[in-house]
């Protein structure tokens, strides 16, 4: 009943749960209110009084609003984030690191290149090509999993890039330690080494991870 729903919407205010869910809640509470008022009318209470009494059965509308929001968001946040972000992230990290470990165990060839920065800084960087080739699969699985769980495009991207982000986080933690605490005699060389590590183990794997994820990156469909 639109009038009942209007009265409820007015008292509840915005719930911040998205228009679709809010409409559903208001509609459901409106139906309940209408039933309650009808039951009172059947007992001989005048129509207006019945509606007022039904509305008064809720002693504190702001408290009801908070209870509904709490019921809708507390567990939803946990479940949604776990399903749409943390599980795909865990999957991507396990797959990526598991593949790297397997390739090292089975002796996948590593390619090393010597790089020169300026006249004095030389660094060696290594790639495990088969591991890089395997990364699109990791990105694809993580992005697909996140999307299936209702994750946003941002969640899908974060899940797909998790192996690179984790290593970047590690390097960001290690770099200040290496530069400030250890006080290396050749800080430029140390810095260059970190930059090369970041390129080879963060930026380079991020490309195949993204390539794998790209076909699956899209907004989740609205739930029916």
């Amino acid at each position: 009943m639109p009038d009942d729903q209007g009265l409820i919407r007015e008292r509840l205010g915005k719930l911040g749960l998205g228009p679709r869910r809010e409409d559903e809640i208001v509609r459901e509470l409106g139906e309940h209110l209408e039933d309650h008022a009808s039951a009172l009318e059947a007992r001989g209470v005048a129509k207006d009084t019945a509606l007022r009494e039904a509305l008064d059965s809720v002693p504190n509308w702001p408290e009801l609003r908070n209870e509904i929001v709490s019921a809708e968001t507390e567990e939803a946040t946990l479940n949604y984030r776990t399903k749409a972000l943390w599980l795909p992230v865990l999957c991507a990290l396990t797959m990526s690191n598991g593949l790297l470990a397997l390739m090292q165990i089975f002796g996948a060839p590593a390619h090393f290149y010597s790089l020169s920065v300026g006249n004095s800084v030389h660094a060696l960087c290594g790639f495990i090509i088969p591991w890089l080739i395997s990364q699109p699969v990791v990105g694809a699985v993580a992005a697909y999993w996140s999307r299936r769980a209702g994750g946003s495009v941002r969640h899908q991207l974060l899940a797909a890039l998790a192996p690179s982000i984790a290593l970047l986080g590690l390097f960001v933690l290690i770099l200040p330690w290496a530069m400030i605490v250890e006080k290396p005699s050749a800080p430029l060389i140390r810095l260059a080494a970190f930059l090369i590590l970041t390129v080879t183990w963060v930026l380079l794997p991020a490309i195949p991870l993204l390539l794998g994820a790209a076909p699956f990156l899209r907004k989740p469909q609205a739930q029916s």
Binding site: E24, I25, R27, E28, L29, E31, H32, L33, D35, H36, S57, V58, P59, N60, E63, L64, E67, I68, S70, A71, E72, E74, E75, A76, N79
Partner: protein
């Protein structure tokens, strides 16, 4: 059931709702009516106490709401017990059974004294 602590009411409400829905799917108003009728009004849930509980149970996956046409011809949101809700029913029954046994034992000791 004014005066009874909200947590107790919520806990007992969960059991009452699961037990009711184990028999048949019901919409919110019908749930509150049945609970009041079956407990002779001792346990009462109104709009304010019922729906946050139902939504919480739905989020936990114990019940699932579905809009359907009622006998009156109006669309109502019927709640169905899910397999997870069914699993939850037995331990809840046991837990509340133990709770009441314990209370009964305490009351018995108090009476004897």
């Amino acid at each position: 059931m004014t005066g009874i602590d909200t947590k107790i009411k919520r806990g007992s409400g969960e059991l009452a709702i699961l037990a009711l829905l184990n028999r048949e799917p019901l919409h919110g108003y019908e749930i509150s009516k049945r609970i009041a009728a079956m407990t002779n009004g001792v346990l009462q849930f109104n709009l304010a106490s019922l729906y946050p509980l139902l939504y919480r149970m739905e989020k936990r996956g114990w019940v699932k709401g579905k809009w359907e046409e009622a006998q009156s011809g109006r669309q109502r949101r019927y709640y169905y017990l899910t397999p997870a809700g069914k699993k939850q029913l037995a331990p809840l029954r046991k837990e509340w059974g133990l709770f009441f046994q314990a209370l009964h034992r305490i009351a018995g000791v108090a009476d004897a004294g």
